[in-house]
């Protein structure tokens, strides 16, 4: 709720009772009933009649009624209108909690000082935001590890991510130019998951950043991903605490994701136990959720819930309805990646230029299974 801060000219929130006397009230400024407009009330009919007449130049509105966020700020964008004896300004963008708005009404042609009122929205009280999880969850990552997903408990602010992210070597020293920094930043739409890529130029052999600076991660060494506590959430508050993930680096993964190494554990018919896919190594958490599913014998996606556990080596699907007997297929999109960005059709490290007509492209692979009573 907005508070009126200054008394002079600032209309009381309470509306006056039905008029019982003829005493005219002085003009005053108040907040509209929906708290998204400012209104000047008690203007006499003569004043009001000048506004909005044919020929009234729209660019004059800010000279009459202007809302600003500071003494040197330009007038806010919005729309003006006169209705039911009230001059009203409706800002184009919603009023923001924590901001102070100065409203000034200047009667056209009058020499009197403007009528001024200030309003402020109290800052919202929001629970502190924390880092809930970082994927992959394993503390052993390949030398050519490609990305982290950082999950937050609430929505975060854009525009400052890389200021708060570091990779430290075993001595606690930050490694420079470790990440792919994109000004646009890579967020999930809800603002609660940030995707952090290592600079691919330092992963791929032969590329210039690696030639000059070397790889970020080296086999046998220990590193720490640091999320700084100064990162602001969407409400402008810093994180409740920073976050650290320490991991050991092992052999690089330099081959395609191979479904032949996958194992299926089948549920029993009539129950709601999950179908389980056991992977030989951790895979990309987000892609396991999005790119693996179960289809019935007609190719229709079976409705249910996917969970990924055991350091992203265990994919499980629990159907909404008990499993019927029948033929099913586990379907995986060939874009499913391991931790090094290799997928089912292309290794991260090897890019071969081939004319498109020679490429045999398959969007999915299918692992059929039968549930028998």
């Amino acid at each position: 709720m907005l508070c009126c801060l200054l008394a002079p000219g600032c209309g009381a929130r309470e509306r006056p009772p039905a008029s019982v006397t003829a005493t005219p009230q002085p003009p005053s400024i108040r907040l509209g009933a929906d708290e998204q407009a400012f209104e000047v009330v008690n203007l006499d009919a003569g004043q009001l009649s000048q506004f909005g007449k044919p020929g009234w130049p729209a660019e004059r509105w800010p000279d009459v009624l202007a809302v600003r966020v500071g003494p040197e700020a330009p007038p806010m964008a919005g729309a003006w209108d006169v209705a039911d004896g009230v001059l009203r300004f409706r800002p184009r963008f919603p009023l923001r909690p924590g901001m102070r708005y100065t409203v000034a009404y200047t009667a056209p042609g009058a020499n009197a000082a403007p009528l001024v009122a200030e309003f402020a929205l109290p800052k919202l009280e929001t629970p502190p935001t924390i880092v809930e999880q970082v994927f992959p969850t394993s503390d052993l990552l390949p030398e050519n590890h490609l990305k982290f997903y950082i999950h937050f408990s609430g929505p975060m602010s854009r525009g400052e991510a890389y200021e708060h992210l570091q990779i430290l070597d075993g001595n606690g020293k930050p490694i420079e130019s470790a990440f792919l920094e994109l000004g646009e930043e890579l967020w999930a739409p809800d603002g609660q998951r940030f995707t952090l890529f290592f600079d691919p130029g330092r992963i791929k052999h032969g590329l210039k950043p690696r030639e000059d600076l070397g790889p970020v991660l080296e086999k046998g060494k220990r590193y720490t991903l640091v999320v700084g506590p100064g990162w602001h959430d969407a409400h402008g508050n810093t994180l409740k605490a920073g976050f650290r993930k320490t991991f050991q680096v092992g052999e690089p993964i330099e081959k395609l994701v191979d479904p032949k190494t996958w194992q299926l554990e089948l549920p029993t018919v009539g129950g709601s136990d999950p179908l389980t896919l056991v992977l030989p190594m951790p895979h990309d958490h987000a892609l396991l959720h999005r790119l693996v599913w179960v289809a019935d014998e007609h190719g229709r996606k079976v409705a249910g819930k996917t969970t990924v556990t055991d350091q992203e080596k265990r994919w499980q699907f629990t159907p909404d309805k008990p499993w019927p007997a029948g033929k099913f297929t586990l379907v995986a999109d060939t874009k499913l990646e391991d931790l090094a960005g290799n997928n089912l059709e292309r290794q991260f490290e090897v890019d071969v230029f081939r004319p498109v007509e020679k490429e045999i492209k398959k969007d999915t692979i299918e692992l059929p299974f039968v549930l028998q009573p």
Partner: protein, 357 residues
């Protein structure tokens, strides 16, 4: 980031203008309504005051008729100190609560447009602001305007694509982006006018890197330009190469082999660029986050063989323009000037006009 007129070399400008008079106005296919922008990212002007606006959150591309045309486009300089505070004021908030995503110059009017997010969280509101040569800054009303919309990609609840750069060139809008899950950068070509039949297509650009071929690297920024009757794209990648390829090669589903014409050095992030002519010779002005602004000679780029040697900085010769340190965005304002967003040493973010070096 880029305006269409920027792509026209002086040599081809006359021919292009002649051709334009024979074509329909670019706004003819647009319909009146309210574009339902969920967010706003890179923007770029086409002819006739049509602004192409990327909306990463809904993975869409809009063509909007700004109606901002003048018989004689304004000239001269534009300068606004503390532009972020003034933009925030118009949007009813403070400078900490906005992001200026891009700027573009409307070649039909000479006015500067800013793509701005009002708010930094997922509920940030998209805003488009116009700045004229008198310094008047206003929020563009996006109600009851002529527009058209094209989808870019399928999204899911968590999957999105960041848009890093867009430009209108030769009847298509090129859109560079990067997914937030798969390791897959995209360069999409969206034919204009946007229709059901004119679906966006994805193009893979391979570029040489020390004898190997690299793809899927994200294009950070790119600029179209004409040279000897051919329209080319110069694309700056996040892992430092500057790559050239021909627009005519961008066919649906094509795999295009680009030529690496320069390596720009490590630990560096290319931010924005423009092409211009000086003394009859073409140059590229490239702003970087760490290596300042580079002025790169494009003379002979059409014959560039591609870089294979392992040198720290190789390819086309360039100078560093030290006085332009701190540039975040730039766009060509006229044949001899550019408008820039620059972070001054005192921390203020200013919009300024500078002569092209």
């Amino acid at each position: 980031m880029m305006s269409t007129m920027r792509i026209l070399s002086l040599a081809t400008l006359g021919a292009a203008l002649l051709a334009a008079t024979a074509q329909a106005d670019l706004t003819d296919t647009l319909k009146k309504g309210t574009p339902d922008l969920k967010s706003i990212g890179p923007i770029s002007f086409g002819p006739d005051g049509v602004l192409f606006v990327s909306d990463p959150q809904s993975s869409s591309l809009f063509a909007i008729d700004t109606g901002d045309k003048a018989n004689t486009p304004a000239t001269g300089t534009i300068k606004v100190g503390k532009i972020d505070e003034k933009v925030a004021g118009v949007l009813g908030t403070d400078a900490k609560d906005i992001l200026i995503n891009d700027l573009a110059v409307n070649p039909a009017s000479g006015n500067v447009y800013l793509s701005v997010s009002r708010g930094k969280g997922p509920d940030a509101k998209p805003a488009l602001l116009k700045l004229d040569h008198k310094g008047k800054l206003e929020a563009v009303e996006l109600k009851d305007v002529k527009f058209s919309k094209a989808p870019l990609a399928n999204l899911s609840d968590k999957k999105t694509e960041a848009v890093t750069c867009i430009a209108y060139v030769k009847g298509q809008v090129l859109v560079a982006g990067l997914g937030n899950e798969n390791w897959a950068s995209t360069l999409r070509s969206v034919p204009f006018p946007f229709t059901e039949a004119n679906k966006p297509t994805s193009v893979e650009i391979y570029h040489g890197a020390h004898g190997k071929f690299e793809t899927n690297a994200p294009v950070r920024t790119f600029v179209p330009f004409d040279l000897k009757g051919q329209t080319n794209i110069l694309a700056a990648y996040t892992c430092t190469p500057l790559v050239k390829f021909g627009v005519d090669e961008l066919k649906p589903g094509a795999k295009v082999k680009g030529t690496t014409v320069a390596e720009l050095g490590n630990g560096n992030r290319p931010l924005d660029m423009l092409v211009y002519e000086k003394g009859g010779k073409p140059f590229l002005l490239l702003a970087n986050n760490k290596r300042g602004v580079m002025k790169i000679k494009l003379e002979g780029v059409e014959d560039a063989k591609g870089i294979v040697a392992k040198t720290s900085v190789a390819g086309l010769p360039y100078d560093t323009i030290k006085e332009l340190d701190g540039i975040q965005q730039l766009a060509k304002l006229s044949n001899d000037s550019a408008v820039i967003l620059i972070r001054a040493a005192n921390g203020e973010l200013n919009l300024d006009t500078v002569p092209l070096p």
